[in-house]
Symmetry: D2
Subunit: 332 residues, 4 copies
Amino acid sequence: MAMPEPLHDIAHLGAVELLTPEPHKALRFFRDLLGMEVVHEASGSVHLRGWGDYAASTLKLTTASAPGVGCIAWRTTSPEALERRAAALSALGLGIDWTNGDFGRGRSFRFRDPDGHIMEIYYEEQRYVAPPGLRSALKNQPQKYTGRGVGVRRLDHLAVLASDVATNRRFAQDILGFQLREQVIFEEGKREIGAWTSPNAVHHQLAYVTDVKGGHGRLHHLSFWVDNRDDVLRAADILSEEGIFIEAGPAKHNNSQGFYLYSYEPGGNRIEVYSGSYLVLAPDWQPVTWNEEERAAGVYWGGALPDSFIQYGTPNIEAGPAGDAPKLPVFF
Amino acid sequence: MAMPEPLHDIAHLGAVELLTPEPHKALRFFRDLLGMEVVHEASGSVHLRGWGDYAASTLKLTTASAPGVGCIAWRTTSPEALERRAAALSALGLGIDWTNGDFGRGRSFRFRDPDGHIMEIYYEEQRYVAPPGLRSALKNQPQKYTGRGVGVRRLDHLAVLASDVATNRRFAQDILGFQLREQVIFEEGKREIGAWTSPNAVHHQLAYVTDVKGGHGRLHHLSFWVDNRDDVLRAADILSEEGIFIEAGPAKHNNSQGFYLYSYEPGGNRIEVYSGSYLVLAPDWQPVTWNEEERAAGVYWGGALPDSFIQYGTPNIEAGPAGDAPKLPVFF
Amino acid sequence: MAMPEPLHDIAHLGAVELLTPEPHKALRFFRDLLGMEVVHEASGSVHLRGWGDYAASTLKLTTASAPGVGCIAWRTTSPEALERRAAALSALGLGIDWTNGDFGRGRSFRFRDPDGHIMEIYYEEQRYVAPPGLRSALKNQPQKYTGRGVGVRRLDHLAVLASDVATNRRFAQDILGFQLREQVIFEEGKREIGAWTSPNAVHHQLAYVTDVKGGHGRLHHLSFWVDNRDDVLRAADILSEEGIFIEAGPAKHNNSQGFYLYSYEPGGNRIEVYSGSYLVLAPDWQPVTWNEEERAAGVYWGGALPDSFIQYGTPNIEAGPAGDAPKLPVFF
Amino acid sequence: MAMPEPLHDIAHLGAVELLTPEPHKALRFFRDLLGMEVVHEASGSVHLRGWGDYAASTLKLTTASAPGVGCIAWRTTSPEALERRAAALSALGLGIDWTNGDFGRGRSFRFRDPDGHIMEIYYEEQRYVAPPGLRSALKNQPQKYTGRGVGVRRLDHLAVLASDVATNRRFAQDILGFQLREQVIFEEGKREIGAWTSPNAVHHQLAYVTDVKGGHGRLHHLSFWVDNRDDVLRAADILSEEGIFIEAGPAKHNNSQGFYLYSYEPGGNRIEVYSGSYLVLAPDWQPVTWNEEERAAGVYWGGALPDSFIQYGTPNIEAGPAGDAPKLPVFF
């Protein structure tokens, strides 16, 4: 029997809403240190963008009592694809509702992934048109590169925690149509620890990693792209000078070959400045699978990931009643 | 009336055959200076690869009396897509024949683009498995990064010359399903000078630019990717030390925002080492169009492109009988 | 007869005064685009610094009717060295006067070089102590790296024009004790075109190049250091976005192996952002000499230097009455 | 009473002899991975150079039963300076003898530092003249940049272990005339842990750090310069692919602001690939002093230094009879 052709209904990660109990400090972090631009403010939220994002906004900062991730928005490849995916999600009982869309986007379908993260899909997108002071000298660049702070170019990906990685990974593959790029599986293939998936050539746009505390709907990190590894080093200088907590990096992951810098924005969410990695263009990509031994080898080079990298997510919670959260080696 | 959903039958540029009258020197250029690996040799040809290419080979060097481009191979997204595209190409009378496929690839359908360049499509691809001495310490990297020479990571794109850019651009869009990313159009929209197209998120994998000498089937340049702009600078140092002719760069294009270095391999073909640029993930990307004035402004920064950049392609020919080849500003 | 031991009375270039007819725009250029800090303002002048300069200030911007260079200040290696050099300069009739020193510096001896540039030497220097908001997280870094704009680290060197290069070059060597690093000599050794000299390991801190218009006391360019070539590329992006005129680069000089970017600050002075080059630690360094043919080969890579690079200096003047200013190839 | 003017008799670190029990593997490490060139072979030794070293050779690999450092050679600023320093060293009873000089160098005076490291001073130096195949396209570059491996540019510095840092630091300052750049002092100024000194603008060319095992004449690390931080990252990729042990980095030191990568060459000596840092041109530089708390903060960014960084030197020895070697935090 013929394999069905790959589903191609989701185009890319569109925007992520970040919840922060420190809205003023977080705004300063993303605007003044990472160099993003504010494009819109609504009650309790500020919408920002990287200079290379073609959409009006890719980051929504929302004031909340605790850090975490709000709505994760995905753009579909067509209006029909939007309907198809909404139907499939509804059929699974994962749908929430249709909305008129958040800032800059049209009609959107909200749903939950199996772990409980709130997501939405949409097709209509407002292309960013820079105001005079922010127009680039390059006609093909949506916005001026201002030279302020790190200057992150665009939203790249996010990693969320899930209590059951396998179920959520299958959801991403089968229902969203994402390609599985890499995974970490322990205990001779029986226990899925992490899965890196993507709807496009970017190595991963959605990663699921084990929530060792048994929570739901939590965030591991949100990641922004810079073009050169040198930009990541420069980010480390900038964040260090400002007293921002650097959890790990700059260093190079085994997984994804990403060149990373992990910090916590003032509200507590883990934010990555990221470069390197590799594009995946193969239609029949064979996932790269890592086991305990391979992960125990640590990062490729550049220092180890601390235990907090496994233990800490947002919102930060106490370990579940099970209390038997497994002791995992750092597995990214 | 509903727009048809985008065609998504071609996955990516698979391999390019380069004709060279200086096979030994060319081999040295690609292997020792660019740092590619030889994976296969057949009568009159050598197959090479970049350390990051997942396919067995992406460059075929074939001895010939004159430089130029041989067969340009594209991988399809599925077996069905291969059949669909073959049928569509045959229906247009552009088909040549089915073959058993070149080194590392399965059944392939050969055809010509309207300008006469030989291309082929295939689905089956032999994934590269590195021999012991070339295995990477990274499980997700198909081959060791050897540190020899420039160390180009992978084949990125090619630009070919065409006497009628508009016709070939429409062919790329309508028949191959490529998205038009940028174009140069002079005379108030009446004269197409260049078109940059791609089947995936890479900014362009196939560019058509005006053959000012009225030739057919000629090559402008073949381009290899490196991850960082610094790698392009290093390439300039390496090629300069070896007396390789550098035609232009390192500098930054307006078009595609690419950071480029153009040299001629010893056989005469123009070879680019390339980084920067930008990914396109928008399903409804609006092509960026440049006119005479905008192109006359030259490159974004880093020196001008010389007249040879317009006049020279491979094989190098005399201007056609028309003799009235237009004097174009350098338009990339 | 024994050679005298090398003179070592001048430690380094201390500060340069730049005259600008556009003080507000120039301030914005140096502060917001190059990322320097304002440390002091006096009548008609603003004193600035790079984040890595250990002295309180290394750049003085002075409002003037025309662009050009004001006083060029050199720090001596000791109080005794200051007296020795002042005596030597006085003996040659080049002395102007002793002053109490400009901002941040002690007693200073002003003089003119043979071409008429105003210089001064001093020993006492106020070490910079950053105010709270500008303190670096690094104890050995005099000031925070703010991440604003280019972020030039420190003053590196300047090149001045001189009608008689040989005389001024000998002055730099014999009277100031600078080591001759490279020179350009045409006409089989008879005509000195340029000389690059330094009192320390920095490749050159004072260059004399032919004033093709026969002027006196004029500036060719002032240069600021960044640590990585990538920072120079980034500077090109920043200046391009702001509409600053880029005259040449980023590219690599033959001379000094410097990786350069030349722009004009809004008042008209040529400003370089610079990296690469090489340190000279040899006590018996043999000057590298370039002739016509070698210079005609142009820059090492990265585009040519335009004719303005020879013709333009500040203040900008008409060619002298001789009118027979030689047509020189670009010789840097 | 007037301060004496600074002594300026030593120009720079000239060459270091490295002892290795794995001469073939070590040769491969320095030649094929670091990209150095072999210039001379003598009984039991191979002399190598970086492409930017002006001297004929800066590294001598000598076969030995255990790793460690052999003779550390310093070039003087003049023949007179050589005599002056030899006399001063002899007067202290530290002299060994005069020799005719090692490969490429003239008459040399051998001595020991207080800790027992063998050093020598010389003035005559054979300037490197590249053979045809290694001539650079740049007239001012002593040798071609070959693009092989890391491509270290030049010898930068070394750090040696000493049981009594204060005594050796005073020796470097008072007898060799080195400037003290940074130091680590614990116990409220009473216990010197490390001292970074230099005879020139390079931040440090000789560092003394506490030998926690109470040994003598041991090596901590030998360091080679690359121009850009990106080159250090690339070195990490190259060494990782070859299975070379990376002890720490790439990361940024607090001390010296150096951007480092520490590996062990196959014979066991710790080798650093190094960039960044800062030049010191101030004649009255005030040493930067770090205490326990400041050092406990670890490196500036990029991962921690492992305990081996304190414990391991070459030759590797057991802790002395005192057995009470203090537990130090990693202090670099």
